[in-house]
Symmetry: C2
Subunit: 755 residues, 2 copies
């Protein structure tokens, strides 16, 4: 068991690494050559140009000393932007995401204060552990519930605090849900006209022997929504075409590169080799070669495009149906069309950017089978991942290492090394295991057939949360001790978990403290440094970038990664609730994490991340539910723990808490959830009426005609807004002020950048 000294060593290491990361960030971000890594969002918005001007050196290195003195300026700057502007700048998804950290602060700051002032003194004066000298309890445990003698009346304090904490969490959660629901409604109401407001995704169009899919869709909606049906778009299966388009794009880049080269040096015509990667084969004129290749591909693309458009088999039984009004679309999205609920499935169309095209044509039966298989796979993935973690953790234990590798004993017995191993390794081991997972989970969600990126992310997040819960939380508690108490555990009923886990909880506090420091403190500091994107950008810039367009693409803005990052935050909520009563000394570590992460991610969403889609905080019900699950788990574990401490009066009192919590969840669900999943007719009608009054001559059909076309039919230009490239202009004065507000923010950040 790690003791206070180990914790201090671990804290020192982690704080040191966090500070190193922060200083590195402060220095590296000031170098103009890295500007695209640390401010890509402003580039993508077209507000910031590359800071290359003047002397050659200052293109790469920032020589202005003053800027280094203000290297922590990003922190207040990150907090400066008010929330409405933030929503405008980064979207509601991002703004709602960082509110999760804020929610953590709101819940845990008061809980921490109360716990430190009430429970810590109660525990400290319990004085049980002083009498039992031989057990491996550390000083930390003297501040925990383990220090209270069995059957003591002091448990009343813990019971009362459990109630106070729960009620406080209810209050904050309710307020936050309400707040988010209002924000979402306001966001949706203030949005400009967007194609998805008028459009419904129809899936599982039944086959018709006499009509094509397109005719069938048109007839069906003309009959059943006669007043509001406007038009529809069928969906083509365009995977082949997408490949050709992709190849053509790459050749086009090469062509531009050689043309640039030729222009700069007109004396020498550039040549290339026709073989693999231009490394061997016959030497030919590069510009001619690529021009002819592109011509060939253009012909192929044209043929394929014709083929897809004319072959009825290339049309999948799904369509995007547009309506004359938002009201008509809202009606169609929320109603059932036919008596067979497995055909003509309608749902509100995702944003065009958000559509996951490959999943639009899965029949109902196949879908249910896929989901069954994926649930079974998830079960095995979740429950078999435990074995390696448990193994590594048992190794990370001093005694374990000495047993397996006895010759290392003299080395690891030394105090410094021992502290490092015990304080640092278990956290790192866990972290490494978690890196591989998100891709697997996302793939399994794709197989399950969700039709939008946002729902794929939400689904993956649920799976990842289950994984974190079972493997990181329960796995660390049970398996960690399982290697110490294997015999006891094997014979026990698997369903006595609340008691078994509850009893192990206090003993694992030190482990989780180190975990919070590694994952929460140093990990978040590493996030702001963006080491991987930094290296990748410079590698690409040096070896691959041929044109300005390529440089744009080398700039990887990244995104929040809801699917993996949200479940990790949930782990902190869970730990906070579980330890709030048991080992309150863990709470400050969590509060520090929430505060630091809030700061860092607010900076990141302002300056870095570029979300791929905007769902309007549709994930909040999931976030809320998972926090509720964390609360219920903490309540059950507390019940299990106290039931072993001769506090018989506690069980009936504690069983009220999960019931209340479940009720609270249902209440909130009924009260707010529909704001996140349904589309009220009143709001649709208000927007329709307003629009009819302000733009009576709007040609909606023309407006909608180009949306919901598979990206390849637009030449792949769909994903990104047009980028204004002002590389050659004055880098410091934003050339095109799209709006007063965002340009102001741009110059704020620029000025902070020190020019």
């Amino acid at each position: 068991m790690a003791n206070v000294q180990d914790i201090c060593v671990s804290a020192a290491i982690n704080i040191f690494s966090a500070v190193v990361f922060l200083i590195a960030f402060a220095i590296i971000r000031l170098q103009p050559v890295n500007d695209r890594v640390y401010f890509p969002k402003w580039y993508l918005k077209g507000i910031r140009g590359s800071p290359r001007s003047g002397r050659f050196v200052s293109n790469f290195v920032n020589l202005d000393i003053h800027t280094y003195l203000r290297f922590l300026n990003w922190m207040p700057a990150a907090l400066k932007m008010p929330e409405p502007e933030l929503i405008d700048h980064a979207g509601l998804d991002s703004a709602a995401y960082i509110r999760i950290y804020l929610l953590g602060l709101k819940i845990f700051v008061p809980i921490t204060l109360l716990a430190l002032f009430v429970l810590v003194p109660v525990n400290w004066t319990g004085k049980t552990l002083e009498t039992i000298k031989d057990v491996t309890f550390s000083n930390i445990d003297k501040l925990s519930i383990s220090n209270i003698p069995a059957g003591s009346q002091r448990f009343w304090a813990h019971l009362a605090m459990a109630y106070v904490f729960t009620l406080w969490a209810f209050y904050v959660l309710y307020k936050e849900y309400q707040n988010l629901a209002q924000k979402r409604l306001k966001f949706l109401a203030s949005e400009d006209r967007r194609p998805d407001q008028f459009t419904v995704l129809v899936r599982n169009v039944p086959p018709d022997p006499d009509e094509s899919v397109s005719e069938h869709v048109e007839h069906f909606f003309c009959v059943n929504h006669p007043d509001s049906y406007l038009s529809h778009k069928v969906v083509y299966n365009a995977n082949n075409l997408a490949k050709i388009v992709e190849k053509k794009k790459s050749l086009l880049n090469w062509l531009i590169y050689y043309q640039n080269k030729y222009e700069r040096n007109p004396t020498k015509k550039p040549t290339t080799k026709t073989g693999f990667w231009g490394l061997w084969g016959a030497k030919v004129d590069a510009i001619d070669y690529y021009s002819s290749e592109i011509e060939k591909l253009t012909e192929m693309e044209y043929a394929e495009r014709e083929g897809v458009m004319s072959d009825p088999k290339a049309i999948i039984p799904a369509a995007f149906v547009s309506f004359k009004s938002r009201w008509g679309a809202a009606v169609c999205a929320q109603t059932q069309q036919t008596s067979n609920p497995t055909v003509w499935l309608t749902e509100w169309a995702p944003e065009p950017r958000d559509v996951y095209w490959s999943n639009l044509a899965i029949p109902y039966v196949e879908l249910t089978v896929r989901r069954l298989l994926m649930s079974v796979a998830l079960f095995f993935l979740t429950f078999c991942f435990m074995i390696p973690i448990a193994f590594v953790q048992s190794l990370a234990n001093i005694e374990g290492i000495e047993k397996v590798l006895p010759f290392l004993k003299p080395l690891i017995e030394r105090d410094g090394v021992k502290s490092v191993i015990q304080g640092f390794l278990p956290g790192i081991a866990l972290k490494i295991f978690l890196i591989l997972l998100p891709t697997i989970l996302m793939t399994s969600s794709k197989i399950e057939g969700y039709t939008s990126l946002s729902s794929l992310e939400r689904r993956s997040a649920s799976k990842y949360y289950l994984f974190v819960l079972v493997n990181v939380f329960l796995g660390s508690i049970i398996a960690g001790t399982a290697f110490q108490q294997l015999q006891t555990f094997m014979q026990e009923a698997p369903t006595k978990i609340p008691v078994t886990v509850g009893v192990s909880i206090p003993m694992k506090a030190t482990f989780f403290i180190t975990y919070i420091m590694v994952d929460g403190w140093a990990g978040v500091a590493a996030e702001i440094l963006r080491l991987v994107p930094l290296i990748v950008f410079h590698l690409k810039n040096t070896f691959l970038v041929k044109t300005e367009k390529d440089r744009e693409q080398a700039m990887d803005a990244g995104s929040l990664g809801f699917a993996t990052s949200e479940p990790r935050i949930q782990l902190y909520f869970l730990l906070g609730f579980v330890y709030s009563v048991v080992t309150p000394i863990l709470l400050p570590f969590i509060v520090v994490f929430f505060a630091f992460a809030f700061l860092v991610f607010r900076h990141q969403i302002i300056n870095v991340y570029d979300q791929k889609y905007e769902s309007g905080a549709a994930f909040w019900p999931d976030v809320h539910m998972r926090i509720i699950i964390g609360m219920i788990i903490s309540q059950l574990l507390l019940m299990g723990l106290l039931s072993t401490r001769d506090a018989a009066y506690s069980t009936p009192l504690l069983i009220v808490l999960p019931i209340l919590t479940i009720w609270f969840h249902k209440f909130c669900k009924g009260r707010f959830e529909s704001a996140f999943v349904k589309f009220p007719l009143q709001d649709a009608m208000v927007k329709d009426t307003l629009e009819r009054a302000t733009e009576p001559s709007l040609n909606l059909k023309a407006y909608l005609s180009d949306s919901y076309v598979h990206p390849v039919f637009k030449g792949g230009e769909l994903e990104k807004p047009p980028i204004i490239d002002d590389e050659e202009n004055d880098p410091l004065v934003p050339t095109k002020r799209t709006s007063r507000r965002s340009s102001k923010m741009g110059s704020e950040v620029s000025s902070e950048h020190g020019n």
Copy 2:
């Protein structure tokens, strides 16, 4: 433990009582004086008149000997009516209800045959119990899984059969769900125009300072459903008025009674006393007295009616909103109206008869609190009811009685008495406890705020099922043995139930066999005799009936009572699934129950029951789900049982079954459930179009104007269709043939009646 002899005694008693009931029924129903008790449905339909004609005696006693010889004729007669006619005659609710019994037959007849031919020989030749002489196993157990030695390879047979039974049940359940969904859609499509097709119930109308509820509703729907809104009806709080109307009706009956009396004997003016129940007080002229009293009440009623109609506080914030088309109503019922999901709640209006008026005005927060309290109450009701049952059952045990009342030992030790006690009492004890319950559950459902009688019944049925599951099923298994093995059970983890219960299952087979015979065989036979309605009718007829109208009201047709009867059927499904693999000899008893009950209830719905409302088999998803729950319980218990028999290979194989079952449930839910809860736009559009073509001049507003008025505003005439009273005409020839088909049935039954 009861042995084969006890079972035989119990079987003899129950078969004897069933036969007695049936013979009594056959004789009593042939007497004309009881005609209204056994054929009320035909009276209510106006097809059958009272068989009073000719000689005085034959008004009361049937003297035709031939009819007595054919006294079992009702059985084929009950089966004769084809299903489409049955749906037409009794409604889809009733027709679907008896299909539950048919479903039981379809599932369990093949399972029984297979189990008897495969598992019984396998068990019988297991020969474990012959070696253990001292344990109290009976001969029945030699046919059960208990007879297989631990670790035997014979368990493969049981495993295979568990799979076969499950798959067969899937097949039958799927087909039946499909069938019912089609029937429901056909039923809804073939229905005549009905007010509820055009109407939506709107609840939680938010208060508006400037407008009345009525204006607010009108404005809201004019704005948000401009093309389809037609009209609306506000709901009045008319409890006081209903009381006055009720009193007036009773006085009117007395008036008619005295007028009749005076007409028959004009020499003597009837008098009455003004005091309580006409027993004391001043003697006055009866006709004058009642006339004046009625006049007073009419004035009061008028004043109250005016008061209710003019007082804005008497209007509750709910309304029935009608639309110009079924399509418009379908749209409004399925969509969300505003961004606040707790106001303007719309749902498809129940049938006018089906509305539960008192619950229309409960605000959202109150509703969630009520539901929380009722869930807690249900929990205590369910889990504290176990104590008395366990106590009675421990008494019903021979050893228990001897311990408590040792002086009875010589009496109960005699073989006959012993068999009666062991075979009969436990079943009776359970039965008595179950009689009190339905009213409590229905009250709690009413408190929960459901707005239609059908949803109240469905909700109560769910609660009752939970009760039956915990108290009858688990209670009989655990508590029954709990008094024998108290020490063992108290120390065990409550969640090891599958194993504990699974092990007790085979030992409880004999108990459940007697229970099936008492509740299923004799109980169903008692149902057809209608002893209570028979006695009540004759008591009313003799002492209270004053007018023909009173006689109509004395006739209590009753109804199926879905809330209590369906969960009881589910117990048989559960027992069937649980014992199908464990003790197959129990299955024939269940099959007999299903067949007999099918026959009896088919007869009852044709001739007796008068459903209070028609929901179009909306309960089927519940029925399906509860059967699935029964299957899952049986699979878990089998897993628990086999895990104690050294059949280690069984657990992984058996854990697949519940997963498959849950998936099957989800699949069916997705495939069929929406046919029972949603209203497809296509079907609505088809009916609208058809109606516009056939009745272009229909005045829908006038048609709808009178529906959805609180019954008191119609003078209480709403509940029943107008009754054609042809008491004075030829009783045997139906005077008014409402339809060719039903009159045919009427005469069929009449002719079978023997006149």
